[in-house]
């Protein structure tokens, strides 16, 4: 142990000797201090209001804000550009970037950088909060990224990553952007423990991003929770999706994605829990769907998906679809609307369950009939259809519905 310590000390010694601490305040230009700094230096920014913009970091330094100094872009300019690898930035407030249709104005922009860490920063009222461009091995954590976007065209994304690899986006609080987190051509990255709320479009948006994962995030009251499009091998576990209300609102929107896993998530009070289109080989297991309008909508273009051991509770409609073709496997789910029996007492119902209710089909054809939903008459219609199915897709059924709720 002593040997190890002394070796470590020897290794660190030259760094400790060469690195200096530079202090700067509102009176001077931060850019000058940054240009003076040598690799490994620490620049400490005193508290205050800085009307400085387009600050470019070109050397691997550590930039620390004392008590959140405010950098203000006066609604006209961009603020920080990190164009070097190994930069560490923390404790700084960045606010009021400009809005432009020519360039994407960002609060903090990472350009062709690697091993950059942005942590404990506040990014307020920016078009794009943190913008990663062709960057690798970067960590974005514990940031507060807030804005108040109202429409999709004017707004930008909270954390925007393009053509990047191996990113870690962790424990950020993002709200009021177009997309909370946006991934385009991003591979091998993880999104963990973020809270993404009140975004105009999606809480998290994947485009052409393979081998990524997101877990333990909370998505609430966005246009839609998460949109995963044209991607492969995305792992989605332990997230909470709630209160996505509207005629195009979903907990998760899956479009042309394959070989992915959706497990241990909670979908509560969404208009639609999971919407799947053109998706294949997705494993959906051990999720809880409660009090949603529709728990899932699985279009006929999906194939080879497995939906098993989920809990479906208090949803208005369990499953909806758009055809009679069904190439997915449904098994061992718990459906609170299941009315079958279990004679051999093995915990699995003896009659299959058809999760598509006739009224969901009727109301899709003629939305006005929804006004009669839950009336005595519609209950009779549902019961009649259960005894003699003629409208509901017969192939979509769970042959082994559970009689007891899964403990998830």
């Amino acid at each position: 142990m002593t040997l190890f310590r002394s070796i470590l000390l020897l290794l660190l010694l030259p760094m400790g000797l060469s690195a200096t601490v530079i202090r700067t305040g509102p009176g001077s230009l931060l850019q000058h201090a940054l240009d003076r700094a040598r690799p490994g230096d620490t620049v400490i920014v005193a508290p205050g209001h800085y009307l400085q913009h387009e600050i470019v970091i070109r050397t691997p330094i550590t930039l620390i804000g004392e008590n959140f100094p405010v950098f203000d872009g006066e609604n006209k300019y961009q603020l920080f550009v990190i164009a070097a690898s190994g930069v560490c930035m923390q404790g700084i407030t960045v606010q009021n970037t400009g809005r432009s249709s020519m360039i994407d104005m960002a609060g903090i922009r990472l350009q062709n950088a690697a091993r950059v860490r942005v942590s404990n920063c506040k990014v307020l009222n920016t078009t794009y909060g943190i913008y990663l461009q062709n960057s690798k091995y970067c960590v974005i954590e514990n940031n507060e990224i807030r804005s108040s976007a109202t429409d999709e065209l004017q707004a930008g994304n909270g954390v925007h990553a393009w053509k990047s690899d191996s990113l870690l986006i962790r424990d950020n609080n993002i709200s009021g952007h177009r997309d909370g987190i946006y991934f385009e051509f991003v591979t091998g990255s993880a999104i963990i423990g973020n809270v993404s709320t009140n975004n105009v479009r999606y809480g998290l948006h994947f485009m052409f991003s393979h081998n990524d994962g997101y877990s333990r995030n909370t998505f609430r009251h966005n246009g839609a929770g998460v949109a995963v499009m044209y991607s492969k091998k995305v792992i989605m576990t332990g997230n909470t999706f709630s209160e996505h209300w509207g005629d195009a609102s979903y907990g998760i929107l899956l479009k042309d994605i394959s070989d992915s896993r959706i497990e241990h998530n909670t979908f509560a009070r969404n208009t639609m829990g999971v919407y799947m289109e053109g998706s294949s080989r997705i494993h959906i297991a051990r999720n809880t769907f409660s009090a949603n309008g529709w728990a899932m909508r699985v279009q006929a273009s999906c194939e080879g998906n497995t939906i098993e051991t989920n809990n479906f509770l208090d949803n208005s409609f369990d499953v909806a679809t758009n055809g009679t073709l069904m190439l997915n496997a449904w098994r061992n789910n718990y459906w609170d609307k299941y009315e079958g029996y279990d004679l051999d007492r093995d915990g699995t119902g003896d009659v299959p369950y058809h999760p598509v209710s006739v009224y969901s089909i009727l109301s899709e054809r003629i939305p006005s009939t929804m006004i009669l939903y839950r009336s005595f008459l519609t209950n009779i219609v549902d019961q009649a259809e259960k005894i003699m199915p003629s409208i509901i897709p017969d192939q979509l059924r769970d042959d082994s519905p559970q009689t007891k709720k899964w403990k998830l």
Binding site: S249, T271, M272, G293, W294, D314, S316, F317, M370, L377
Partner: protein, 255 residues
């Protein structure tokens, strides 16, 4: 007026039918809510029971009771009391005792076992339905000459509102589904207090699904508080209008 109301109220509390009504409601509520460990499913079954039982039993019972107390009413009329006052106090006592039965039978189990907003909405709609169908019972009593016809009318009226109306409405919706009938449908719903009560509950339990439909009906009416306000307003009218009609007719009626 208060004395007569109090007399009717106390007389009804001792009535065996009311006690049975309360007990049945209470047993149903406790079993349904106990079955599923306090989820929305029990609440839904209770909603169905409320929508079916309350109109039928309230209309029938109040009509029969009014007919039975015809002699008592005639006795009161020989006193220097206004006719409208007598009828109003009869109505008040009746509506209050039936509401009390509902609140004890359904309201109490709900507040104990499932204290959520939707439960309280269900209690309020149940009480409103009781008031409405009591006033319909009163109207039937005032309109019909003899007891047999009155009871027949009560059965028809309550079944019309609980079952037949929805069937007619569904036929209407299916027949004219190619036309913009959203507004007509909303107006039609106002004609049936049972549907209004159901929609009040729907807005509590199924907002998520109602937001999923496009179209003016769901955006403007069901998607906002307008729907609830409209339903409550119509229910209020449904209480007042039959009562007012009954009073008007009774004032001139030759007994």
């Amino acid at each position: 007026m208060r004395t007569v109301s109090k007399y009717v109220f106390l007389d009804l509390l001792k009535n065996r039918s009311i006690l049975v009504y309360t007990a049945v409601l209470a047993v149903l509520s406790f079993t349904l809510l106990g079955l599923d460990g306090g989820s929305a499913k029990g609440l839904l079954s209770l909603l169905n029971i409320t929508l079916l039982f309350v109109p039928v039993i309230t209309t029938l019972f109040s009509a029969i009771y009014f007919f039975n107390s015809l002699e008592f009413i005639e006795l009161l009329l020989s006193q220097p009391v206004k006719r409208t006052r007598i009828l109003l106090s009869e109505y008040g006592g009746m509506a209050l005792s039936l509401s009390a039965a509902f609140v004890v039978g359904v309201g109490f189990p709900l507040t104990v076992m499932l204290p959520v907003t939707a439960s309280f909405v269900l209690i309020i709609t149940g009480v409103l339905l009781t008031f409405i169908f009591t006033s319909l019972g009163l109207l039937i009593f005032v309109l019909s000459r003899d007891k047999t016809r009155g009871i027949g009318a009560a059965i028809i009226v309550s079944l019309f509102f609980t079952l037949l109306f929805d069937g007619l409405m569904m036929a209407f919706i299916f027949t004219f589904s190619d036309y913009p009938i959203d507004r007509a449908v909303v107006a039609m719903v106002g004609l049936n207090p049972v549907d209004l009560a159901r929609i009040l509950m729907l807005l509590q339990l199924d907002v998520a699904v109602l937001m999923g439909y496009s179209g003016a009906l769901f955006k403007e009416f069901l998607g906002s508080s307008t729907g609830s306000l409209y339903a409550v307003g119509c229910l209020g009218l449904w209480t007042v209008v039959p009562l007012w009609l009954a009073l008007r007719i009774f004032r001139r009626k030759d007994l």
